[in-house]
Symmetry: C2
Subunit: 346 residues, 2 copies
Amino acid sequence: MTYYSEETHGPHEIFELGDYELESGATLPSARLAYKVHGTLNEDRSNAILFPHMWSGTPKAMEMFLGEDRPLDPSRYFIILPGQFANGFSSSPSNTPPPLDGGNFPNVTIGDDVRAQHRLVTERYGIERLELVLGWSMGAEQTYEWAVRYPDMVKRALPFAGTAKTTPHDYLWVRAHENALKSDPAWDGGHYRDQADVRDGLRRHAELWSVMGLCPNFYKVEAWRGLGFTSLDDFVTRFWEAYFAPMDPNNLIWMGWKWRHGDVSLHTGGDLAAALERITARTLVVAFSGDMFFPPEDLMAEQRLIRNSQFRIVDSLWAHFAMFCLGQTDREQIDACIRDLLKEPA
Amino acid sequence: MTYYSEETHGPHEIFELGDYELESGATLPSARLAYKVHGTLNEDRSNAILFPHMWSGTPKAMEMFLGEDRPLDPSRYFIILPGQFANGFSSSPSNTPPPLDGGNFPNVTIGDDVRAQHRLVTERYGIERLELVLGWSMGAEQTYEWAVRYPDMVKRALPFAGTAKTTPHDYLWVRAHENALKSDPAWDGGHYRDQADVRDGLRRHAELWSVMGLCPNFYKVEAWRGLGFTSLDDFVTRFWEAYFAPMDPNNLIWMGWKWRHGDVSLHTGGDLAAALERITARTLVVAFSGDMFFPPEDLMAEQRLIRNSQFRIVDSLWAHFAMFCLGQTDREQIDACIRDLLKEPA
């Protein structure tokens, strides 16, 4: 399995968590969090930014937002791109030895990720406050979890296209794409030998993403032509199927479970308003137009419960995938969100 | 297989089409169109209404809109509820003898349905003009096909939540739910012995409908509680899974193929505007709010190309399934569409 290699995703640093107790009560022995850093932590440790990644991604996916002429400038900020459990580099179904390998891997939660990231930030780097925590989709879930769980540590929070509490519709959607993978007899309860054996499941799964991952208007105007695809099927095959084909089905399924159980109100006995009230960070909630599973109204409903917050819509044909910056103005709009929030006092 | 029985769906009349040549060039031997009628055709044959049904349905599904105190009053109108190929009562994979049984059934089109319905209307009843053609979803596709193919016969057209030309996004969506059925090894290319053998495929298929068939807000406000369901999973199981469980997978797949290939612009060399320009019927295009696969803007884009037309949105939490009239004001709003259009001169 060469996909989860440094050749493909660049070098990672490893933070050893030891025997890590999960929120479920299970223990993940010799757990590890793989991560990347860019820039230099200043002396008073006041220039750190944390940027967790999305479902199906790795820290590399967020590097496209870093650069000298970009709002996340490593010559100014110390930028930590933490991994998460089940991403293939941190402890995951695909890289954990028996007896917790593959289908035997325990369920992990957003809280498990964020507690591990917190240890990295505090124990390895001695950071007490983060200038900004930002993330897209599952990265937004982690951003919310940070802002609710460690409010004093998060000066600014920037969740893009994600929720503090998974909506029931998203719960159904994520379970459906997990089940598309599981539908392949080769998946075998997660006990396949080679991820490529689950190719039919991976294709069915990609097909669902082609339906829900973008929006009707994207397909109507054939926005895929701008990327050189020659037909609808060409796009489905060489974009969606190709994206998922090399990935590990269990990793996707275990990240999916984590996604659909994301819920900051677990900190407040189910009271979402009370949980979001804990947030002291200056917060910018960003929705992507046409997002089929994080519609702007759902995100705005949460934003209204956050005291020091604003709401913005990034307008893109790419819907939930605006973060890929494949549309003409997507990067510009997203950069502006980051730049504007960093400018605000906090 | 007792689902496709008169016990469940009431009595049908049968129109024998003989050896019926399909648009594909294939011939369906001894083809039949099953249908229902209500009311009495008046002497000058001027009181006929045609109300084709949706994908997965049968003529029975449309009977809920008929009644003495309803806009489709059988004491005034002669109402024909025609079937369509692959619905389980008309010629279908499930009821056709070898060699065209099950997975060997030929692909059928909306045009095939409408030509068969046209023969029923003209040959059996000698009707020259229809007061109204209306339909929901695939019934709307058939309504458009009628209005474009036989413009002189259609005085009024009322497509609810459906398109004249399937959008690329809907093409992907329908193919995905077809593939959910096909994903079950028991489907076996359509050559299973008993539809219940494909139960896993039927469940996966129902799961996709739970995601795309309703809208995020429906689930957010837990609208299913109003029908007595006790949890999200209870609703998924006893509403979605129960709805599809008794149906024949091949029938659903073949109707799906028909749905996603629906396109009135086949009459005009691919020019949708030219096709819709053929429509002389007074037309009311109705969208359902929150419809995940027929968003109001897609329907309005077509309506704008129809000369004598209006556009209306039925506001319902039930999104595409507003036509089930399970929301408080759904029936009232839908009745008003029918009533208002029938009042207009045409």
